[in-house]
């Protein structure tokens, strides 16, 4: 049963890649746009650290690490679960109807059922940024890989949780994209910026601290408590997000989302 689901997931991913291959031109332009986009943003931090060499103990290599983790997660999400990013739009268009009549998990269909995936070029870009930062800081490669996985799981879960708000709010797609993007931005802010209630926020309702701040402690201070905290938080965040999605799905099934449609 699990084997069949896994095989189906692989088949979906293959279909996605095939669709991307038929749209080669669009794929390449989009990738170039995305990387330009990230480069412009990264240059901003170079400018900021040019004016102010150290902010709350963070220097340019900290930003590169945080940003590399984030960008890799973003790339992975776009590649292997693009549909989660467009969840609010899929809900609005009633696309979950078909998935609900099929035997495989709805979330799997949501994540992999839309084409337009980009991602591998962004993952490579993230990898390059991480390599540069890794060389600058001399962190363990194995740990860096593990942190990449954690950041990716946390970010994907956050996108799922906040995207699921689309079950309650119509036309949420635009807002959701804005929110995901801002998660990414907050996660790459120097940790010392956050204190008091803000610190509570980034560990609870908007747990972006687990995207970069905590991984950086694991990487740079070899802090095993931080690692333990990160691993359990990652699992918890993934579980809660899935719960929120399920809750939203039951609202979808109630039909009140759409009201009367004949």
């Amino acid at each position: 049963m699990v084997g069949n689901t896994l095989r189906y997931a692989v088949d979906m991913l293959k279909a996605n890649m095939k669709a991307a291959a038929t749209l080669r031109g669009a794929y390449i332009t989009r990738s170039i746009f995305n990387i330009t986009n990230h480069s412009i943003y990264l240059s901003l931090w170079v400018l900021i650290f040019d004016a102010i060499p150290s902010i709350g103990g963070w220097r340019v290599e900290h930003i590169l690490l945080a940003y590399g983790l984030g960008i890799f997660a973003w790339g992975f999400l776009s590649f292997a679960a693009f549909g989660i990013r467009t969840l609010p739009r899929q809900i609005d268009d009633g696309e979950l109807d078909t998935y609900l009549t099929q035997p495989k998990p709805v979330l799997l269909n949501v994540a992999l059922g839309t084409t337009q995936t980009v991602g591998p070029p962004e993952m490579i870009f993230g990898g390059v940024v991480l390599t540069i930062a890794g060389v600058m800081t001399g962190v363990s490669i194995l740990m860096l890989l593990l942190m990449t996985v954690c950041t990716t799981v946390v970010f994907t879960s956050l996108v799922l949780a906040y995207g699921s708000l689309g079950f309650w709010l119509k036309g949420f797609h635009g807002n959701a994209e804005e929110i995901y993007f801002n998660f990414f931005i907050i996660a790459t802010r120097p940790e010392a910026v956050f204190h008091g209630w803000m610190l509570v926020m980034i560990f609870t309702f908007m747990p972006v601290a687990f995207m970069a701040h905590v991984p950086l402690h694991v990487l740079l201070d070899n802090n095993m408590n931080a690692l333990l905290l990160l691993l359990s938080a990652t699992t918890l965040i993934a579980l809660i997000s899935y719960k929120i999605f399920k809750l939203g799905l039951s609202r979808y099934e109630s039909g009140n989302r759409f009201g009367v449609r004949g």
């Binding site: 669009a26 989009r30 986009n37 412009i40 040019d50 931005i185």
Partner: protein, 266 residues
């Protein structure tokens, strides 16, 4: 003539109402915006506390500056999406044969929705900032009001660029990617994170040459106190200049792209 304007006014008013009726969506966005503004405030307070560099501005002023520029980004509706969707679904073909120009219709709607946002952000947002930052900027109420006034005008320029990004979807099928590049340029050269006066000279020169600095830095620098580099007169001039030029560019681009549409037959 008056009748013509009335039509657009009605579109704007409808968009205003429609926009303000989505209360959950609006509230979430306001809360997010407040959160991000407060993060900015803390960011600059941290830099102020650390005293690693001496900034030419009072920390309280930079806090206001960074918050207002962030607010600016939240005030505009994402109009490029609407247009891109019109293009993707093919609805634009029907919209084009309506008696009123499509692009002006979308502009009126965007201004209506943006005005709805402005009312909320300029009351709730400014009040919250006043409390959180703990006072007015050193340039006082007049500095703050000038910044708010020009940010509103600049939002219209911002809408023009959004319209342009959306219209390019007729051409490249992908308005969003273009928008994101424009947005990043706006963030960097417009001076979202810090006043562009703190950038290296060559970047400053580059920023001044682009319209994006007139949209965020120029209006928001009124809260930077006595040392704000641009006068009221200068900002009035560059704002009007770029508003007019961007409007013209939008019209031109729209004409070119729709001509392509007619040739390609949709």
């Amino acid at each position: 003539m008056l009748d013509g304007f009335r039509k657009y006014y009605i579109f704007a008013r409808t968009a205003f109402r429609d926009h303000t009726s989505h209360r959950m969506k609006l509230s979430i966005r306001v809360v997010l915006c407040l959160f991000f503004m407060f993060v900015f405030v803390e960011f600059w307070r941290l830099i102020g506390r650390e005293e690693i560099v001496t900034l030419p501005y009072a920390i309280i002023d930079i806090c206001w500056y960074a918050s207002l520029t962030q607010m600016f980004l939240f005030m505009s509706p994402r109009m490029f999406m609407t247009i891109e969707n019109d293009v993707r679904s093919g609805d634009i073909a029907y919209a084009l044969i309506r008696p009123m120009p499509y692009i002006w219709m979308r502009l009126s709607e965007a201004i209506g929705a943006m005005t709805g946002n402005t009312v909320i952000y300029y009351t709730v947002g400014i009040a919250a900032l006043y409390l959180y930052i703990g006072g007015l900027p050193t340039s006082g109420l007049s500095g703050l009001l000038s910044a708010m006034f020009f940010l509103y005008l600049a939002s219209i320029t911002h809408i023009f660029y959004q319209l342009m990004c959306g219209v390019t979807a007729l051409w490249l099928q992908d308005g969003e990617s273009i928008y994101r590049i424009y947005q990043k340029t706006l963030i960097v050269l417009g001076g979202l994170y810090m006043p562009i006066t703190l950038y290296p000279d060559w970047v400053q020169t580059l920023a001044y040459a682009t319209p994006v600095s007139s949209m965020m830095f120029a209006p928001a620098q009124f809260v930077l106190g006595a040392s704000s580099p641009l006068s009221f007169m200068t900002v009035t001039l560059i704002t009007t200049f770029w508003l007019g030029l961007s409007g013209l560019a939008t019209l031109l681009l729209f004409r070119i792209c729709t001509r392509r549409l007619e040739i390609n037959g949709g």
